[in-house]
Symmetry: C2
Subunit: 223 residues, 2 copies
């Protein structure tokens, strides 16, 4: 697909000259985030990444000791980026708590559509390769997902307090269920190159939420 | 982890001499299934695979035109293997239909535990790399998952007929929801190297199934 081959670089060489050398580390990190949301660690060659970022190898080693160290920093930056994205949706007080989950999904859908579903989740991509990665990556990736789960759990607790879901609901378990499935939904959306799996997943998740007995908003259909 | 580095070959060289040359294609396919459930396409080098299978390169090209052709055959073999696995659980008439889903999960859990959670789903692994793969893989992978989904949908239809789930339940959508999430659960189980994500996912899925109004078996807790 030509649109995939010709994806724009995040910062052109000319722009980077304007930004100055200090921006190089930032450019490398952002380029790493782009590449590692598209493919796994094994498929990501340092040479190709540096060509894409238009950064010479010497500069790379000025900032990072190795490809493995670099990817550690990329993971941290991705986590920070993703936490901001989650917070925007899940802390949006103009929406009912359970609607904030849908808002997150709508935002994620736009994000995937913008890159023709070529980019998925960096954590999912690295998780798939985890056997071949440095052992500390496993802990780092798990910690990142735990952090995202806590945000969703807090949002579900607000939904519980608001009476949108049952008082006895286990919000931690529901949040874990959400993230387990969400990574699968992102993977499938990349496979079929459309948003249907994301829609199917959130519809199924919302429909399956335990509703208070008096509620009229319980599951009718999965989609 | 030493147990991962020293995984036994599926057929030793001595055994293969006994089996005769005709078994070579079979050995290569089975070895391909092992390797591609552990890692993606990009990480799978042909030389390493042939060393693992103890098959010379010349023999490989006697059976397969290229690595890409080989992986097409591995996908077909994995699909056949996995369909048998699914049928065993989902057609088990000694179990209530919805219990057959749990039986599949228990079988999958044993399968993952047997290899210390180093092996996941070949379809998931290839899906993660899909941008870099031949375009026909995308269709093939989607067709495989659609086939698995139809099996689960049929099982859920039986559950609906048996009154275990609501008469108005959309079994196709529920089956799609299941498979989307299940791939995420397998990925997470590999990340954390235990079966908790598989348990969390099936508990969440079963708890969220739409139960008939008169049923006492509806969702109480996700886990």
């Amino acid at each position: 697909m030509t649109q995939n081959k010709n994806k724009p670089r995040i910062v052109t060489q000319a722009e980077r000259r304007d930004l100055g050398f200090a921006a190089t580390r930032e450019v490398l990190i952002r380029c790493g985030m782009e590449v590692l949301t598209e493919q796994g660690f094994a498929a990501t060659g340092l040479d190709a990444l540096l060509r894409r970022a238009t950064v010479p190898k010497g500069s790379f080693y000025h900032y990072f000791g190795s490809k493995a160290d670099f990817v550690r920093e990329v993971m941290k930056a991705y986590d920070a980026f993703f936490c901001r994205k989650l917070d925007r949706a899940l802390n949006n007080e103009s929406l009912a708590p359970s609607e904030r989950m849908r808002a997150f999904v709508e935002d994620a859908k736009s994000g995937m559509a913008k890159y023709q579903y070529t980019r998925g989740c960096l954590v999912g991509n690295l998780s798939q390769d985890v056997e071949a990665l440095p052992e500390d990556y496993r802990v780092a990736l798990d910690n990142i997902v735990q952090g995202w789960q806590r945000k969703v759990a807090r949002c579900l607790e607000l939904a519980r307090e608001a009476g949108e879901i049952e008082a006895s609901a286990d919000c931690e378990a529901l949040a874990e269920f959400f993230w387990i499935g969400w990574e699968g939904a992102v993977m499938r959306a990349r496979l079929v190159r459309n948003s249907t799996p994301l829609d199917t997943f959130i519809a199924g998740f919302m429909a399956g939420l335990p509703r208070p007995r008096s509620s009229k908003s319980g599951r009718k259909q999965t989609s």
